[in-house]
Subunit: 294 residues, 4 copies
């Protein structure tokens, strides 16, 4: 089928390629003319037969909002927009309402797969009305991995991004699990081959996983990770997961601990631990370490 | 090769079968005569040619200690004992010293695999001197899964059980990760098909794993887990992991949170939350809930 | 000075009394005519000389918004509104803008003191422009405790509620600290007098505090808190504290743990621990507990 | 009464002074001859009338064990030893047995008060048989603060150190509570006077405490704690508290989080966060920060 694709960065570019390999006709637009198939978003819209489907793959927040706003005026009743970016689920209902007021359908799609997606397929979690999801099914089928997994119609508008957000929250805690275990093994004298311990876990254990495979890859490249700093960004979805949990009074101790560990990793010095040091000094006369000279 | 196997419970019994399937000669002893190949532990020792190898597969703590003590007097210099149970790594050095004083070798082996091990093989993490580990290699090869993974000589005595213990700590946090995500998805109105979300994650996602496959199995049997109580035992290795981390000043926030969640799950009522309720009542006149009538 | 006071519940009623005891003229309005000094909010406004000051002491969210909206149309340029309720700090800027557009000043005031405030005074944390805060100073002076403490102009609009919110977050973790220690002491055989241990801490220790005094009061009334259920509500400010921390990438492990402990205390059964039990059963054949029959 | 005092460091020296001020006869021994009243421990024993009482105030672990061993051979039946150091409660029973075999009584005393104890008195939590505790009561009365608080006979041998250990665990989480709140306030633009917010909390709030007073002192000396590094030692009792909780299956999320925050504060770079960075790089091609060049 025909599909418009807005945003041809690393993710969008690979998705265009995977869709074309599957025989679909993709008209891509990007603000970078070297990547774009058309000069303007309006050209993209004109090049598609009605009813049109346009997949938006730009950063969450303002960039996505701007594209949605433009599409609201360029598209016609019966067309459908898919937001495949990392939008917060709370934005989805807003976008669905804005587009729905003009008769335009909306589907939110959480997309997982990273740099491996072009080859192995992207896991897709989508939300929206059945009629809109069904129209896009050939596109979803081309993007998803082969076999019975990797696609779910999770629920109504917002459910796709919500499921993807929770996926990422789980991902945080799984990464933290391996990371904690690795640090402990590295600290202990009796274990002299932590990388091989990790490698051995790849079969026959309860904790075998794709992330474990990646950990072994990383240790093969840099056995003690000496070339890295212990500094980790967070992409937003971990924060939203904790906020959603707070909204629903669900305790998420492991996922939240994983998020906070990332926050702490980015601090040159910890203000809260300065206060701890100050208090210890006040009541116990404990020695404190002075701040480093600039 | 010949091997003695002490302890023929669910794990030991299956290991005997897997070893025999691989062509090894196994003499098994168990206090339950219906399971045992011999009448006494001394019979087991007599039936093996020297230098002997005896694999101990009994519960950690006193039962293992008793078997080690008996073997210390029954075996001869040049023989080797493997402790394949869930012993704490700190016991291993004690056992190695006790046996070593009599010229008997000692290897500790952490074993993962559970009820799936008979068919798929057991992941083995072993610790000890190279000469003792090398002698047992045919046995390890028969027990481990096929292929390049599932076995590691992790380091000196204690390293096998330490690595297995950390494996279990990681396992706790991974399970907690999926569990937190599942609860959050179940709470949210927009997502109407949590089981299918989990199923979809089995391919193409960052969080695909064997544990995720098991979660889908469990949801296929009982979609909302209505038939279970939220009650989880812990087997000891999670506690030891946290204690080892404390010994080495390694922060383990996600693993510890997972352990504490299990502790809390086993309390009918939470004493600490009674104190919270009491304090709220003291300063704010907040309503409190009375304890249930017996 | 003259002041209007909207909302005469437990907090507002006591504050009216404390203000009158200090010689101020208070015109109080409440939707409950038995508590109210006037029949309508407009009567309250009419009874005050210009420039007027009106203190709003109603529940956060919609009720506060409605009163602010009414006051926006009833008051005149030069008048000032104080929001002394538990509003989220993010509402303050909105309210300040709405009122400011009509020349009406706005001050947000976080108020601590609970049922003890009438007698001992209320701790006040206020935010807003200096000119508006200064106008209200006689009222603040009457409400606050005697002595040099208990009042702060924390910063611009929103700072008062933000400071109060953080106060409550700290309160959560302090309560949790005592609660955890109490549970551990109650569990240990060697300690046979936990209440007296708590009492002894009231002097000479690092952890002496007003909350500790309250804990001793509670234990004097019910030594083992047998009459309470381990069930704790949360008032919103703890949640907002964690959300503010997430916004600013500040790790708050102890405060967040305290919030999550309250969430968990309110669950009859824990969904996430059902998943843990289900996974243990899948891989290990571990016994699980069935859900209780209804 | 007469009392021997072994260990005249900062704590022991001040306690000698406080005991003498109360009219007791103190014979002090220290390995540092400038501090010591006698040349050898045996001199101390000889200078006391029977039945003797000797207070041991030396570092926990080996130093305390050595003094206990020496006293076991120097003292006589009917004498009593008090261990006022920071011994782990599990050592107390061992010491009580060793001394009891020779008819010597044993009392364990947890002591709080730090540098403020000389002036204000030391809070004492003691464990042991009533007859031994009663004999020492005049000494306890002299050391403790005036008034009804600051002393408790918490239970049998070990209960004193256990109660003191839990006190320190609570202390960790209370300090962490203030520290987290302080960092959050410092991060927020609208609050421009965090020190004064803290000062205002000293009256009328739920969170007023002695630790809060100390925090204000610290901020008065160094408003933003710029002169300190965010680095905090831990003294052992926090670790033991968590270990005791694990032994008793008591969840301690806030206290444990506080301990782990200290562990993390002492790491130049976080190994576990290197693993997080490595995994992010593997699956997402996320940029990582290289380790700093030495």
């Amino acid at each position: 089928m025909q599909i418009g694709l807005v945003g041809l960065g690393r993710m969008g570019g690979n998705m265009r390629e995977r869709l074309r390999n599957a025989g679909h006709t993709v008209v891509g637009y990007d603000t970078n003319p070297e990547l774009s198939d058309v000069g303007h978003l309006s050209d993209l819209v004109e090049r598609l037969d009605r009813p049109r489907a346009v997949w938006v793959m730009v950063p969450a927040g303002d960039p996505t909002q701007q594209v949605i706003d433009q599409l609201a005026s360029l598209l016609r009743p019966g067309d459908t927009v898919v937001d495949g970016g990392n939008s917060r689920w709370t934005d989805d209902e807003k976008h669905a309402k804005e587009l729905g007021a003009r008769g335009i359908g909306f589907v939110d799609a959480g997309v997982s797969g990273g740099v491996w997606g072009l080859q192995n397929g992207y896991a897709l979690m989508v939300g929206g009305d059945k009629e809109h999801v069904d129209r896009l099914q050939p596109v979803f089928d081309a993007l998803k991995p082969e076999g019975p997994y990797g696609f779910v119609h999770a629920g109504r508008v917002g459910a796709g991004h919500f499921a993807k957000m929770v996926h990422n929250g789980i991902e945080y805690a799984m990464m933290q699990a391996y990371a904690e275990g690795w640090e402990l093994l590295e600290k202990v004298d009796s274990v002299d081959n932590v990388r091989e311990v990790f490698r051995s876990w790849q079969e026959g254990t309860v904790i075998r996983s794709w992330l474990l495979d990646l950990a072994v890859n990383a240790l093969d490249e840099d056995e003690h990770l000496d070339r890295l700093r212990g500094y980790a960004e967070d992409s937003g979805e971990g924060r939203w997961t904790v906020e959603a949990a707070i909204d629903h009074a669900v305790p998420l101790p492991a996922i939240t601990a994983s998020l906070f560990a990332r926050f702490a990793s980015r601090q040159e010095d910890s203000p809260q631990m300065k206060m701890i040091a100050a208090l210890r000094n006040q009541f116990g006369g404990h020695a404190v370490e002075s701040a480093k000279k600039a």
